[in-house]
């Protein structure tokens, strides 16, 4: 068996230690007790208790420690005492350490507790956790701020709606219809949170809506129903998804109310005109169509009409409306058709208000009739021919399902929102336009054209 060097020297040292120790016991009586006592007292060859204890506790300067280490390496007795002392101290320290570890730390002061929180091992984990919490709070605040922005916009629009409602409740009947449509329009904008659309709504359309609404006298019951609808939906301004859907449902309900009111207005107007004198010339022919409800759609930005004829016709309509107002006032002052506040006076006033636009329209229709044969235009990739004062899509035929939509109404805005091309074409052509779109014919009607058609029906 081969032993390496360390093992060999280890064995040799063990053997040497055994032999030396046995020799010391055999050939040396180990010293007398008296010598031992003297040395303990510091007067002999052994270290005294103070020196032994100082060595055991490591309380000696380096030179003194080396000196005592040399003595201990040669003196078995002192070495035995020191070894016993150190092992006894180690056992006592271990026992005390275990006892302290088992002791609850309730006696530590609040300062020590705070100091323990800022100890490096605690900070190592606490700082990243606090950092993550702060980042989380910041993100939460940013998200909440973004969510609140539509709410603020809705609240602003709600204020406008409330003001409109206040105006409606105090305005006369002729103004209520205009306010009603305006309020409904602003309500829609508020729901869709698109302020730009309000600004970009064509002034002509708004005026057209106002002008057409002056011809109509909605019944008070319809106005009240609309007000109720607005009141029900006005507080609803939260931008959440569920509230958006509820808003859309409210818009649908409102649209139905508006359509119902328009239908009633038309019926009322038809009844009134039937009772009136038959001095009104027949209206220009136009495509026959019934008012069909069109679902309200979100509005989109529309370009103002660029075509000169359209603007001029609108201006003529505006001028006509202004002239109507003057004539109404004049008629009322002259007592035409009875007392100013009598139903006949109001009826005649409405008739007179309608007359100039009809005349204007009829004049336009006569001019258009002369151009029917020759005037065609190509707009939006389609060809339109002038027929009876209206621009008719060459693709149109009687088999097409026709939807009549009046300019400036919510149906028109919804249709244009859905099909912007229709809006563009109608704006470019102006007046009454029949567009064939996706196998359906849309008759874009202005207010004068609609009244003219009603007159023609009555005459027939």
């Amino acid at each position: 068996m081969k032993h390496n060097d360390e093992t060999e020297i280890d064995l040799l040292l063990r053997r040497h230690a055994r032999s030396e120790g046995a020799a010391a016991r055999i050939f040396n009586d180990g010293g007398s007790a008296k010598d031992d006592a003297l040395s303990r007292a510091g007067g002999g060859v052994h270290l005294d208790a103070d020196e032994l204890n100082a060595f055991a506790e490591g309380a000696l300067p380096a030179p003194a420690r080396a000196r005592y280490a040399a003595h201990l390496s040669d003196c078995d007795a002192c070495r035995e005492v020191v070894t016993g002392l150190i092992l006894m101290n180690s056992a006592a320290n271990e026992k005390e350490r275990v006892a302290l570890a088992a002791e609850p730390s309730a006696k530590s002061s609040w300062r020590e507790w705070i100091g323990a929180l800022f100890a490096p091992p605690v900070l190592r984990f606490a700082v990243p956790v606090f950092g993550l919490l702060i980042v989380g709070f910041i993100l939460l605040a940013v998200l909440r701020t973004r969510q609140d922005q539509p709410t603020l916009v809705a609240q602003n629009n709600e204020k406008q709606i409330a003001q409109s409602n206040a105006n409606i409740s105090s305005a006369p009947e002729e103004q209520r219809a205009a306010d009603t449509s305006t309020a409904a329009q602003s309500n829609t904008n508020g729901r869709e949170s698109i302020l730009q659309d309000q600004k970009k709504i064509a002034p002509s359309e708004q005026n057209g809506a106002a002008a057409s609404s002056t011809e109509n006298a909605p019944s008070q019951s319809n106005v009240k129903s609309l007000e109720q609808t607005r009141t029900e939906t006005a507080p609803d301004a939260a931008p959440s998804v569920d509230k958006m859907n509820a808003g859309k449902r409210d818009e649908d309900r409102r649209e139905e109310d508006v359509q119902r009111s328009e239908t009633l207005r038309e019926r009322g107007r038809a009844r009134d005109e039937e009772r009136a004198a038959a001095s009104i010339p027949p209206p220009a022919p136009s495509a026959a169509a019934g008012a069909v409800a069109v679902k309200e759609k979100p509005e989109v930005a529309k370009e103002p009409p660029k075509d000169q004829p359209t603007r001029q016709s609108n201006n003529a309509t505006l001028d006509g409306a202004a002239a109507n107002n003057n004539e109404v006032a004049t008629a009322q002052n002259k007592g035409y058709g009875g007392a100013p506040n009598s139903p006949n006076a109001s009826l005649s006033a409405r008739r007179k208000a309608a007359r100039p636009s009809t005349v204007t329209e009829s004049k336009s229709g006569e001019d258009n009739a002369r151009d029917d044969a020759s005037e065609t235009r190509r707009v939006g990739g389609r060809t339109f021919r002038r027929q009876g004062g209206a621009w008719v899509d060459t693709a149109y035929n009687s088999s097409h399902a026709t939807v009549t939509v009046r300019r400036g109404t919510e149906q028109y805005r919804a249709l244009v929102a859905d099909e912007p091309a229709i809006g563009s074409i109608s704006n470019q052509l102006g007046g009454e336009v029949i567009i064939v779109w996706k196998n359906r014919a849309y008759r874009i009607d202005s207010g004068a054209a609609q009244s003219e058609k009603s007159e023609r029906k009555r005459n027939e």
Binding site: R15, H16, A23, E57, L87
Partner: protein, 312 residues
Amino acid sequence: MSLTTTQIERLIDEGTKRLIARATEARTLDVDALAPRVRSALNKYLLADDANANADAIREFINTLHADDLCLVIACERGDQSAWSDLVERFNSTVRSAARHAAGSEDAAEDLAQSIWAELHGLRVREDGRPAGKLSYYSGRGSLGGWLRAVVSQLAVDQHRKQSRLVQTEEDADFDRLARDSHQGEESLSASHAPSDPEQSLLEQRAAKDVEAALAKAIGELEAEDRLLVKLYYFDGLRLREAGAVLGVHEATASRRLARVQSDIRKRVETILMNEHGWTRDETARSLTEAATHLMSELEPMLTETRAGMKD
């Protein structure tokens, strides 16, 4: 530049004043009562090894003395009964614990503790009429509790050594026999070998002697702490953890130091054998290997019997 006696005395006085200021219970002691003990400790532990110690070393030495323990001991020496009461009350458990650790039985421990208190108080009377006890040997360098444990251990060792001279254990007898045979050097080394011839046997015995002598010399030439480590580990049979505790180092440090010491001893033994006894390197290596092999073959049966005895 060494300090003069006057300077040292001034440093001692200043240090003693600071020591009294540090003590939580000075027991109405003044500089005159404490200065002699401080001077004695300074001479014993610092100036005896470094006569040219500077003022900072002296101040540092005095500042690290145990002020409260020193004031208590000096007050006891002056006959302060309240100080004696405090001493017994604080350290009676320490003395009893050390006595139980050193003694073999509870009765022996009680006797040992009583002996300690008697020696501390002093059975002899000095010239001035005050009892001469062992308290006068406390310098304040270490703690008073550790000093009391040392006093108990010393007394216990003295009593054990006195009894051990009279009674020898069986295990010690076996090792003694082996050592006697090894010291004579003839029979133990050749126990596993058939004697070839007298000349060869004599050569082997002589080689074993030379190895033993070289080992002793190599151990004697070690540094003090290295030699202490060898004594603690090989002669006293301590484990490396215990030996490290005596030296004030960790067990791993003690292990590395022991490995280094073993290497140093082997190199020194080879050098001694080659230089002083004229061996060649090969002869030295072969001799050491043979000696270790012989030792294993001799010790294995004994170790086996020892282990069996421990199991029983």
